[in-house]
Symmetry: C2
Subunit: 430 residues, 2 copies
């Protein structure tokens, strides 16, 4: 109807697509649909009482300050808390290495803003986090991808790419990856950090779920391995010489509604990102930052709280895997995440998860088809040339287990199993 605004939009908007996940979330808000589609933490894991108390305390003791403008870098006690947290990982970062962001989604946006020129190529895993693809696409990034398996990104495939073309940065999500639920092995982490160093390509390490490990041993983040590597060399001059930008968040350990994340990076990177953030939103909510700082102030609170979340999510992952073993037809496979919120299902080759979605929604269960998580890469053959082949990941789906009770998970997986069985049978008939 209206044409006035057509042709007005910047070129970068051509690559902006509404996240399939968020669109599906809208459809599946009816209470009778069991949704494994979203990425929501369990609301019963939020420390509602502690946040209520903190909100009241902050407003009573420092109301005017909590409502006023505040520095772009973030609220100092919160930055100090994060610097201390990193110290426990073994990173000698200080407050100046920490910037508070409006959720870790903004961390990705700001990193894109200061690093990406149009047509710069980013190396990522396939599949990878859709929100990162969205954030970087706004700066007209292009992608090359490396497949991920149970041990995360297949790092042996990285060096040939680094040798062949200029890569702006490597985007990696090493812990309980969204969407795959997989974790990068220590050997691959070390190898990736060494390669990035050798080829002088920065790493953007996205670690929203790192603390939510409910099985196996903690593995050091890439940013730690990079620091250790630099320390072994004579020319090491502190964390500010590092090669990794690390992004974290309170969304999965406290509450996503507060929109609080952070970047830990060499000082000069932080300074650039601060400049970008000034023009982007001036600063993140003063009130929410002060509330978060107050909640995490009691020694050990967050550690103890996260322990509860881990127990909750482990129970739900176990319920989902048990139900899949019971209700999913032979020939389907899934990952076994050691933490986080998601697992990844692979159907037999040729069974199209996207085509299956309407059937599943009719059965009152929802998921996200895996194709959404595969970036369109620089080297990708044009769709036409691929003929009638289905796209990469056509037979995969992402399931979220954090946001449903074990009882709902069992019912939802039963419904989904029926939809999958039906799809596989109708395919066999063809």
């Amino acid at each position: 109807m209206t044409t006035r605004w057509q042709g007005c939009y910047a070129k970068r908007t051509e690559r902006m697509i509404s996240s399939a996940i968020r669109e599906i979330l809208k459809v599946t808000q009816q209470p009778d649909v069991i949704s494994f589609a979203g990425g929501l933490p369990a609301p019963e894991s939020f420390p509602v009482n502690e946040i209520t108390r903190a909100a009241c305390a902050v407003m009573a003791e420092a109301g005017e300050r909590a409502l006023q403008y505040s520095p772009t870098e973030g609220y100092v006690p919160l930055r100090q808390f994060i610097a201390q947290k990193m110290l426990r990982y073994g990173i000698v970062a200080d407050v100046d290495n920490v910037l508070i962001t409006t959720g870790s989604q903004q961390a990705l946006d700001l990193i894109g803003k200061v690093l990406i020129d149009p047509n710069d190529v980013i190396l990522c895993e396939a599949p990878t986090y859709l929100g990162a693809l969205q954030a970087f696409a706004a700066y007209q990034a292009r992608y090359v991808s490396v497949p991920a398996d149970n041990d995360g990104m297949q790092v042996t495939r990285v060096e040939p790419i680094l040798r062949k073309r200029k890569i702006k940065f490597i985007y990696a999500l090493p812990n309980f990856q969204n969407p795959g639920g997989t974790t990068m092995s220590l050997e691959r982490r070390e190898k990736l950090v060494a390669l990035a160093d050798k080829y002088n390509v920065p790493i953007v390490e996205d670690d929203p779920y790192g603390e939510l490990r409910f099985e196996g041993e903690h593995l050091p983040p890439l940013v730690v391995l990079d620091e250790q590597r630099q320390m072994k060399r004579r020319r090491f001059r502190g964390f500010d010489c590092g090669n990794v930008i690390y992004a974290g968040t309170f969304s999965k350990t406290l509450a996503p509604g507060l929109r609080l994340g952070w970047i830990v990076a060499p000082r000069q990177v932080i300074q650039k990102v601060v400049q970008a953030k000034q023009g982007t939103d001036l600063h993140s909510s003063t009130l929410d930052q002060m509330i978060a700082a107050e909640v995490v102030r009691p020694e050990g609170f967050l550690v103890e709280h996260v322990r509860k979340i881990r127990a909750l999510y482990k129970e739900r992952r176990d319920a989902m895997i048990a139900a899949m073993e019971k209700y999913f037809p032979r020939g389907t496979h899934w990952t076994h995440p050691q933490g986080g919120l998601f697992l990844w299902v692979t159907l037999p080759e040729g069974v199209d998860a996207t085509a299956l979605l309407p059937e599943a929604v009719a059965n009152k269960v929802a998921f996200v088809p895996g194709v959404s998580f595969f970036p369109l890469t620089v080297d990708a053959p044009r769709r036409k040339k691929r003929g009638r082949h289905l796209p990469i990941g056509h037979n995969t789906m992402r399931l979220n287990f954090s946001n449903s009770s074990p009882e709902k998970i069992e019912i939802g997986i039963q419904r989904l199993g029926m939809a999958i069985t039906k799809a596989m049978e109708s395919q066999a008939v063809e």
Copy 2:
């Protein structure tokens, strides 16, 4: 010291400069400095009790919801409130025309993100809001400017520019402009809207202070005049055919620490901006949105509250003008704002306000030199060629009157008057 990251940054970062204002804010945080440099609202104007009550009510009644992820478009009751507010201005916009942003600074960032391609030219006033220049510069915008006088942007100078070159949009701040404190006359508003329509150039109307008028008659926003204009034509098909993107904020009427602003625009523009916001920060703080919606829920609360802020700021403007009349040397002039937070001082030609700043800070008073607010325009002669001439606006300064008591204002203006007198004398000696 560290060179690893040099050469990594995107081209757009070359134009990102740390806001002079925010840098000065850091220096002038000592309690004995009277700062007219910031743009802070009076903290005593914040409805601390109401926000405390609202925060407790929201957390008690809907804690889990307030802490969970929420839709990118914003919290529906808050969007409804804004749509209703616009209705009072005469705009028949509905919820789908409203997007909640993380402060109106994010509104400017997102507008830049969806509209500006590198080297697109934006028409703005000179001087104009520095934060807008920062937001747009991140998308590599260039500027042409039109001088502003007591009646705002000199609109007669706009048509020759629109005739001569492709303008991406017109950026206007019609009410109590930051930094000038000036207000665009009704005649100029109508003329600007007509010109924008004729040349099919969108207007971005930034209206953070519109409600803070303490003198004179309310003037209709450009978005209203545009709607009226469209309605007179046969081809009018509702607000969605409009030519204006309107940005507002709660920062000056409730509290800036909540980081809540909004965009009102035709639906198809909102849809684009929502896509951009998904990749930028997913959504603004759920908790803060619910608190704001709860605070403004009682019929008439905000209207009544804003009335108090207006009385407070009028008293402070009056105190500043009275003090300037008393302490500023002959030959200095200032604007007489009818609302808002700022006024603009012009010193005699040749007196350099930037050179005066260290003297003022030594006298324990701070301001922002006016040069910061003049965009470097496409047509600007290169600095070298201008020889020893001082830059445009060299003899101007922005003073903020909202954040100091009348007593402090008098003392601060006395100190500043002494610094100005000294600078003028030393210049006379040369």
